[in-house]
Symmetry: none
Subunit: 208 residues, 4 copies
């Protein structure tokens, strides 16, 4: 600061930036394609074409197609879990916590629609059954535990009616929320906050 950086350093940083950008661009292109066409149906050439380089050159930035999937999923899941854990730690009453989980979920869809779609669509596919992707199921389970704890606590404290089946109810809730990635379009009229309010309305008040 205040001191002029040598030209060499600037050049090097620009280069580093370019490299980082290329990498990021590649990963974004890949995830978007994975989300749109499916992981297996996306070819390295698809990714390369979308990024203006040749397929072989991708291997200078990523070890394999799998590595791209891994990086995208891991980033997304880690971030999501951290937000869920923070919401739970905040320790408000269960109803408030539940609302937060819903809002976090729709916000994640808004921020990372492609990663969410890939996670949704590839669950159960051949790739994710590989040992290297065990962490995906792992994070999925941890996130599920948060939901179940909140719902159970809510039921014990009387905020949720006793005849509500927590385990099955959770699945209905989870699926309704995450499936929104299939039709929600960031930048459209709906904000993620709107969506969350709509869904919470359905959840608390029902249809009538």
């Amino acid at each position: 600061m205040g001191v002029a950086r040598s030209r060499g350093t600037a050049v090097k940083e620009e280069a580093a930036d370019a490299r980082r950008n290329r990498r990021e661009h590649l990963l974004e292109a890949a995830v978007e394609l994975f989300a749109t066409k499916g992981y297996a149906a996306t070819t390295m050439r698809d990714i390369a074409d979308a990024s203006g380089i040749l397929a072989g050159s991708i291997y200078h930035h990523f070890a394999s197609k799998e590595a791209m999937l891994d990086e995208a999923l891991r980033d997304f899941l880690v971030r999501l879990y951290e937000r869920f854990a923070a919401a739970e730690r905040a320790g408000d009453d269960p109803r408030e916590t539940l609302s937060r989980l819903v809002r976090i979920s729709f916000l994640s869809i808004h921020e990372s629609p492609h990663a969410v779609a890939v996670y949704q669509n590839e669950t159960g596919s051949d790739v994710l059954r590989k040992e290297a992707f065990a962490y995906v199921t792992d994070y999925g389970n941890r996130i599920e535990q948060v939901w179940l704890r909140v719902l159970t606590t809510g039921q014990m404290s009387g905020m949720v009616r006793p005849d509500f089946d927590v385990k099955v109810g959770y699945l209905f809730i989870r699926d309704a929320i995450w499936s929104a990635v299939r039709w929600y379009r960031p930048g459209g009229q709906m904000t993620p906050e709107n969506l969350a309010e709509q869904y919470l309305g359905l959840l608390y008040k029902g249809l009538d």
Copy 2:
């Protein structure tokens, strides 16, 4: 019973059965694999292995991999739409009709889990975008119209609260129901009727 069939007749019927069975078995194996691994990721060899014949032999029964997908989806969609149309024609009050749609849906998941999963997972995939599969979108739209009509009528007749957003609400409902195919296991403790009641409870009463 009591009347002995001639041996020749019995043999012929067995042969006809075997033929029918082989075809059906092949189709069932295919759809299950399509549902589990995805259509594109399923190879003719996978299907053949699951049926104890060689991959090339499948082509005696089906013209192509696509033809197998077509037959499975068409059967499923036609049956589903007919049930929906019948429910709507029955003309009960909207709330009762809505309940029927929910019950029909869970029953369909129970009866044809694999077809439902394929329909869910492949929507938007390359295969279904082909002209030959235009009817899939078509039936999808017709089914969507039934839901929207019932919800709208319900809202006009005061059975659904006025601040319920029909279009978005429909999507939440649809996704929650059909996504159950991912975790519902026919033959487990849950019956499709149970499931429908659980979901209708959530829908009408909300959480509390």
Copy 3:
């Protein structure tokens, strides 16, 4: 003769006729397809479809696809060679003999256009290079010898100008004649006799 044949015999003969007919029909269908689509591109199913039976059933009449080709080519070549040999034996003056060869050729095209086309098109193909088809080249050579003898004799007797290159000239003549199979349509306005006259005119008088 004069004695009524028993019913059983008549039935047997009808059956024998049916069998012969089926065989002949199959062979005709096969040769037409070989001529039109090429031997390799013609499938047993093509032949079966054209004959109203199933592909597997052909093997009750012919040992293999190759056997069908063999029978068709052999019949044709034997007949053609016999006619050529007879024309040469007739021993007229070379010019008359040459005219006969030309007429025989166009007549053969008229009678067996498909066999001619197959012979033309498959010469040099993989099938005909097999040992089993050595006789094809053989007959081809014998037929060539007839042409060359007639032309040489004609040149020695002064009926053909001395600067005519017999070997090359023969090839031009042969090709012009047999290639007519590609555009000549039996049953059209042109008779094989017309064609022969047209070509002989070109051959003896030239263009002017």
Copy 4:
């Protein structure tokens, strides 16, 4: 000569050459095989074997087997038609023009025997009936028109006898010339000029 090129330049040019050569070599190998065995009977493996690479690698240079056929035929037909059109434009007397057409034809056989053979043999085959190859028939027709115009003009100007049937005569001439590709061997004793003279002799003077 005398000016040393830098090593780098030389290396680059060699590389460019290698690339061009590989593609050209592949196409040449392909066309030769198409001519010899027939398009359908030629496998990508045949082509690859003849070029010392694996079958899959061909797809780096050509989009498909069909694309190879297309490139070879198009190049040949365009060049041939241009030469014919130029000969006609030259506007000499019909006899001279006719002689030129004959010489151009034998020269084309000499230069591109394989392309000529493919054009001859595949006319009427399944591949060439595809929409993508409509231009082949197109060029064929244009070339035919040139021949017919020249012959008709020649007949009107009295250089061709009045009883010569132009339409049929053209077919005899065309077939005699182009069929030569089956037996003419470039590099043998016969030059294309010889061949043209021989054929023109037969055409103008006849046999005697």
